[in-house]
Symmetry: C2
């Protein structure tokens, strides 16, 4: 076997058993790995109607065939479960060093079944795999847990774990590894918490082989060269990190401001952007396994009320705490973001939920007594205090911990949750970037920017520039981006390589690593298969229709380059379903299922 190592760990948390079973190689061929293969295992084994926080849900870690190889940024893995936030298939991708380490220990993935009665963690050192007591870790933060486990197991172990919010059912708690890397969205941390599984600690000393080493090296060298030569993937991201986007998106009139209430232009945006971050707080760049981009930032606020240090913020986190909360204090934004990693929560949903609470408070729908203080837009202390409250699972934090949809519904205004399928939209206004509107509406895990990132062509002009205000043709473009993303997420390569690479370079690396002669199109079809499988799961789970918050459909942008625009969703959606080969309700047709080899 090449690229895949050939073994899956199946861990029954109730029976406390660990079984090693051979990888289903047919499925690995059809669904590649990581996101695709994890989802395939999940869909074959779990009832789509399962209650996400019940023992019937499963939690799957899955690497891709290129994870742990020398492929461009090939260190990714996926965590898969039914999401308690959205009720959709939940699949979240993470970088760092955990995924490669798991493969070096000899495992492509881990399937966690049922729930333990008391806290445990999974210890993996090559062949030795055992469930160990984690009572002493329960109640500890991500950082504390990581440090304690490295002390207990050895400093070379890679740790994936959850924080206190996840233990308590926070619907946007993530699964974090290497302290700062997160399988962040959709609340998969809460699934892990519901199983009383605090962590996985892994150390591997084996290797991953590829099928055709010389050709693989050629493909790799070519890809690296192409990536390095690209202005975004080669130098732009390295220079300023993802926060480089703040001014670009703001000047495009697409930076949603104050819970999307006040349009999409934030006058103080520059104070919160990548340039300011580099100037004031950047310590150094940092990269994941086998990465040449090094988009991560090690940052430090040296003094003042928000003195703190950590990593980030990424662009979306910086926006959620910044423009979305009307906050221009970058130190507060940094600190709030650090807290998210420390406690293992998704900063996009966290910031957006605070923004939603701010709007509800300002309109009078949340009484001050419920919060404990006046919660107005622009308050830098509020974003830190409330993130801490969720991190410690205290007071109003317990309500915020369910995300903006449940918050807004509780206070009578579900329409003020800026979410799709109950997951918060990130930092791009679909009124100013029409393709993003369609992306949010159709994403299989709720609103998301990494499930078909049309901001790339519509704003950045990568790989080609298209008009962000035009709706025609966006459906076809989105399908391509969604399928390609599903493929990349399944290989173990980082999506950010697409700021330079295309299908050709990705497919070439995959081909030589696993030893196949499939064409680029045949390989891309695997991405489409993954997308359709996810959609089938969601339909069977009874997930709500594809749509957008009413604000995007009816409240015109008040100013900026996109003044007067709303999201023209339904014209694009009609076309999208046709392009996908789905019926007018968005259900894949029998012909499409046959084409993709999906039993439905």
């Amino acid at each position: 076997m090449n690229a895949w190592v050939g073994t899956i760990l199946r861990v029954d948390l109730a029976a406390k058993t660990v079984v090693k079973e051979p990888l289903n190689i047919k499925d690995a061929h059809d669904y590649v790995g990581a996101r695709g293969l994890g989802t395939k295992y999940f869909c074959d084994e779990v009832d789509p109607k399962v209650e996400p926080l019940s023992a019937g849900n499963k939690l799957i870690y899955m690497t891709g065939p290129l994870t742990g190889t020398a492929a461009t940024s090939g260190g990714r893995f996926e965590v898969v479960a039914k999401s308690p936030l959205t009720g959709t298939i939940g699949a979240a991708n993470s970088g760092g060093y955990f995924g490669p380490e798991l493969k070096y220990a000899g495992y492509d993935g881990i399937i966690f079944e049922n729930a333990s009665e008391s806290p445990v963690y999974l210890y993996i050192k090559d062949d030795v795999v055992e469930l160990r007591d984690a009572s002493a870790l329960w109640g500890k933060s991500v950082f504390e847990t990581t440090d304690l486990l490295k002390e207990e197991c050895g400093s070379s172990f890679k740790i994936s774990c959850i924080g206190v919010p996840a233990e308590n059912g926070c619907l946007f708690s993530g699964v974090l590894n290497d302290k700062h890397r997160a399988a962040g969205r959709g609340g998969l941390g809460a699934v892990m918490g519901s199983k009383k599984l605090k962590a996985v600690a892994v150390r591997g000393t084996g290797a991953v082989t590829v099928a055709r080493p010389e050709k693989f090296l050629d493909a790799l060298t070519n890809a690296r060269k192409t990536l390095k030569a690209h202005p975004v993937g080669g130098s732009g991201l390295a220079a300023l990190g993802t926060q480089v986007l703040v001014n670009i998106i703001n000047e495009s009139g697409a930076l949603p401001t104050r819970n999307w209430r006040d349009g999409a232009y934030f006058p103080e945006a520059n104070e919160t952007g990548g340039e300011s971050l580099a100037e004031k707080y950047l310590v150094k760049n940092k990269g994941c396994f086998a990465c040449s981009i090094d988009c991560a930032r090690v940052t430090r606020v040296p003094d003042g009320p928000f003195k703190s240090s950590g990593e980030g913020p990424e662009y979306e986190a910086g926006w959620a705490y910044g423009a979305d909360c009307g906050v221009s204090d970058l130190a507060a934004i940094c600190k709030a973001n650090f807290l998210c990693n420390e406690h293992g929560i998704d900063p996009i949903t966290m910031g957006a939920t605070i923004a939603c609470a701010m709007e509800l408070y300002e309109m009078g729908a949340i009484p001050e007594s419920d919060i404990g203080f006046p919660l107005r837009f622009g308050d830098p202390h509020a974003i830190v205090k409330l993130t801490e409250a969720v991190g410690r699972f205290e007071g109003f934090g317990k309500i915020l911990a369910l995300g903006s949809y449940r918050l807004a519904e509780k206070y009578g205004h579900p329409e003020l949750s800026m979410s799709v399928k109950k997951q918060e939209m990130p930092a791009y206004d679909g009124r100013a970037i029409q393709g993003m509107a369609l992306e949010y509406a159709t994403s299989n895990r709720g609103a998301c920017h990494v499930r078909g990132y049309l901001t790339s062509p519509e704003i950045l002009g990568v790989p080609i520039k298209v008009d962000p205000f035009v709706t025609e043709g966006k459906a076809g473009l989105l399908k391509l981006f969604q399928d390609l993303t599903a493929l990349i997420d399944s290989t173990g390569i980082c999506l950010f390589t697409t700021f330079g690479l295309g299908l050709q370079e990705i497919a070439a690396q995959y081909r030589e690593a696993v030893g196949t002669d499939e064409t680029d199109d045949e390989i891309l079809l695997k991405g489409e298969r993954v997308w359709n499988l996810e959609k089938h799961f969601n339909i069977a789970a009874g997930v709500e229709k594809d749509t957008l918050p009413p604000r995007l459909l009816r409240e015109k942008l008040p100013g900026g380059p996109a003044a007067g625009k709303v999201a023209e969703l339904y014209v694009m959606l009609d076309e999208y379903y046709k392009v996908r080969g789905w019926d007018s309700d968005g259900v894949p047709t029998p012909e499409k299922n046959v084409e993709l080899g999906i039993d439905a």
Copy 2:
């Protein structure tokens, strides 16, 4: 015993038993009768969390002490159950002749418990009370059922029954009596249908006595004189029926148009108003038992595609099918309204649900294939076809039969249901009449115009004129109207008498009929007690917070006298909770409970 006859029928539909039990006279004293007393019995006997269409729900018919007396318009009774539309306490009031007849047979009310396995109806002829097989009536319309039962039991019997939608769980099906009178809102017909109770047929030959006949006659004479002298209650309503409001409300810029999407002015309103109705289709006026107002209209469309005859439409029904659906063809409106009575459904929710479907269709959210034809605003044939589809419970009618909230939610836009607590708002725009906004938000049975009709002071100037755009003071005014309405609904007198009468005249009739020396204020307090009891039930049932559809809170009226206005709900709501003696979450305080003598 005076005014109350002193006996309640308790019918177990599962065991097929009928028990006569003495009226709880203490409760009758505290909660008066009809709406208040029916609710009191209900709250004492039923778990607020009961599933409304399960056998655990109960269905109560209750008359008031003044029902069947010579009191002004004293022919009303109430049907009480937990509403399947709203999940709130459901209480719907009806006129006609059924209520008095029930009292003449010797019963203040009927409590239906559990569910029958096969269709039955309750036969009441004075002392003879029995459940009879209704298999032959199942599947029949309200009109057919009424005719068949009169044939079977005798033409002097009064019939209360349900139609086919109610048999099938239509969430806005009503309980109809005398063919055209309806306990219409909240889907109480579906509760009756879920119990397989098709009808109640009653004939009574007894009498109702009052405590102090001479003083009662004085009170009555005075009230009649006052009512007759009033321009609205004395002649306005008689002349043009409730449809007289169409032009008045439209000229106030408060007639919601096309699912409230296009503001609150309908240029073709006059074609659908009371003047046009009188000129084109009115056959004659008609009144209920003991009524001097005669607001009902017998109407006939003599020819054309909408040839039909029946009664109505009332103002709210005419609006729902008219301005709300953008339809100006009065013949189509009449026919659609006739169909509602024939099939036993609430025309407000029916019309508003079609309007909602029209907006969803026009924006692209409902595919044409689901409906069967293009559903555009302004189509007179559509309102008739879709009402028939619900009446026969066929095709798209099965989806519409769940009301606009479930419809809009199904198609991804719950915010486009113009409803509060899932019941559709009637024909007054709360942006142009601020008090109505507060009324809709706080009504204990979901949006409603007959739970504190502030249009009366704000637009009609009855009893005094107040500014419809002002928010200050509306909370106190609304509390008074709500409490007074709860009192009147509980006495058995018709609410429409308040277009002329006030507390003084109502209290005087009540006092002499039941023989009490309570002051006007003490009598009004009973209304407040009823209101608070309803609120307690809703809180225990877990009903959602008091609020309004986002459209009213954020979409400014585009033109007319109220241009630029939104509903200033939350400032009024704060004040309202204070005036009510409730806490800031809208929960009655312990002090208020003690004052009203409510155990909570």
